[in-house]
Symmetry: C2
Subunit: 297 residues, 2 copies
């Protein structure tokens, strides 16, 4: 974990806040009128050392962590410590990123982009696939997946208060610390209080990629490594989602949604355990099933 006198220091972040929903008058099929909350969607333009990089459409929950995670996940900076400060000003819809020593080759990297689909903010740089090394092979060691812990996580996510529950039209992503929980589960044969998986952070956004980028920003600021964690998402398991998780060294991604064939293929190559269609105690494991300890085992 990071202390206050860590060197090199972490970036200074503002804590900009905006309303995350807006009430709108709607007309129902029966002609009745009522107010419903809708999820906010707003533009946030990232400037890196005064150079315009990209405009993200976002809910606006944690804009500083989103900016940081975006830069990390796109490989524009290798570490949060390369950044001196991130200043978000919603009045001008801007996140001003100041680096300590500049970003090498920023212009060249901007020239070549991949626009992706799935459900997300889209842009990755063409060399991304080459940058992500595979995770350790999936085995039933300390990183194995206990069925009971997975079900507990899914139940907790379903019960969580959220913008999605209030207003819909957002995707959620949560990072869970599970290694200690699983250790306790194996030792006691059941889940004690000490054995419960712990949700570290929960982020919602209009794009599922923004949500996972924000989680990446949070991990960088808190000094949390992905190895002992699982990533929960409400979104589809496309190629980009798998790549981002592998880049964060998170060995398991679980979604209540399904996977694409390319998401499955990449997960297999990168030794990532990919679980979808999860809910109500059921799920499908698309890859890395070697990590699973099922209820029937």
């Amino acid at each position: 974990m990071n202390g206050p006198d860590r060197w090199p220091p972490l970036p200074r972040l503002t804590a900009a806040h905006v309303p995350l929903t807006r009430d709108v008058l709607v007309v129902s099929a029966d002609g009745s009128r009522r107010q419903v909350p809708l999820a906010a969607e707003r533009a946030l333009t990232l400037y890196v050392d005064r150079q315009e990089l990209v405009t993200l459409m976002t809910l606006g929950q944690e804009p500083e962590l989103l900016a940081l995670g975006y830069l990390l996940n796109q490989g524009l900076v290798a570490s949060a410590t390369e950044i001196e400060s991130i200043t978000v000003d919603w009045d001008v819809a801007a996140a001003a990123v100041h680096t300590r020593h500049g970003v090498s080759g920023l212009a060249e990297r901007l020239a070549r982009r991949t626009v992706t689909t799935g459900c997300g903010q889209g842009t990755v740089f063409g060399d991304w696939l080459d940058r992500v090394p595979p995770l350790p092979p999936a085995t039933q060691d300390a990183g194995s997946v206990e069925h009971a812990v997975l079900v507990q996580l899914l139940d907790a996510m379903r019960a969580l208060p959220s913008i999605h529950r209030e207003a819909g039209s957002v995707h959620g992503t949560a990072l869970w610390q599970v290694q200690q929980a699983q250790q306790a589960q194996r030792e006691s044969g059941g889940l004690g209080a000490a054995g419960e998986p712990q949700m570290l952070v929960h982020v919602e956004d209009v794009g599922r990629h923004n949500a996972v980028d924000t989680v990446a920003g949070w991990m960088a600021m808190e000094g949390v490594a992905g190895e002992g964690c699982w990533l929960y998402t409400t979104g589809r398991l496309t190629s980009e989602m798998v790549l981002k998780a592998a880049q964060l060294r998170i060995p398991l991604v679980v979604s209540r949604n399904g996977a694409t064939a390319m998401g499955q293929q990449l997960a297999e190559q990168l030794h990532l355990t990919l679980i979808g269609r999860a809910g109500g105690g059921r799920y499908l494991c698309y890859s890395g099933a070697e990590r699973l300890r099922l209820a029937t085992d």
Copy 2:
């Protein structure tokens, strides 16, 4: 409509085909193993006059129409007739677009991009918002929305065979011709065979923006105007979806999903009727309710 001796001529398109699903072996929570089909996701790089423009991640259903619709919706070409040919070769994952007279200012336009979120292919150009004029104000004229026609459309979409039903993890978009159907509905007081709304095209893709871009490409090739049509989508109604529909002059967009606050606000500004959470005879109208003729009217 476009005839074979239309001048200037429409672009020549290849008709590249690839499998849209792939069977994968999955493990269920109860330990059973089975094959399930997953939706394909593949990269398609667009080259315009040999210059690399963008790489889209797509299902691959209608890649030529996707490329055409992307160029139109991004405002890179004003008309399909500016393009001589689009050649898709899946072996090299490329769509080669040849224009008749080049694209003016392509390099400059590439320099400034907006990466958006929602659930989609993402990139729009920064000047997009300025390019889309509002639709005619919503009134109960020939363009009004009959409740019975809307419900019939929703029922038909639910019953439609689809990759989504087979493999999940894709979004669908359909263009419906409704003006004649509504005219008949008003004259007869009920829906006859002649009064049924007609589905013109149905496209699925891993990104909902790819799907609507492909519909735009289809409209350009077939010479179909948006005015008498409605757009159905399974995706969320975000700002970009509303902008694309307004650009196509389609006065109504309906989704089984919800809207963001910005999607609603733009729809209001552009006089677009925006309907979400649609299914089972129920829906919410977020904007342009002046067009609605409800069952209770």
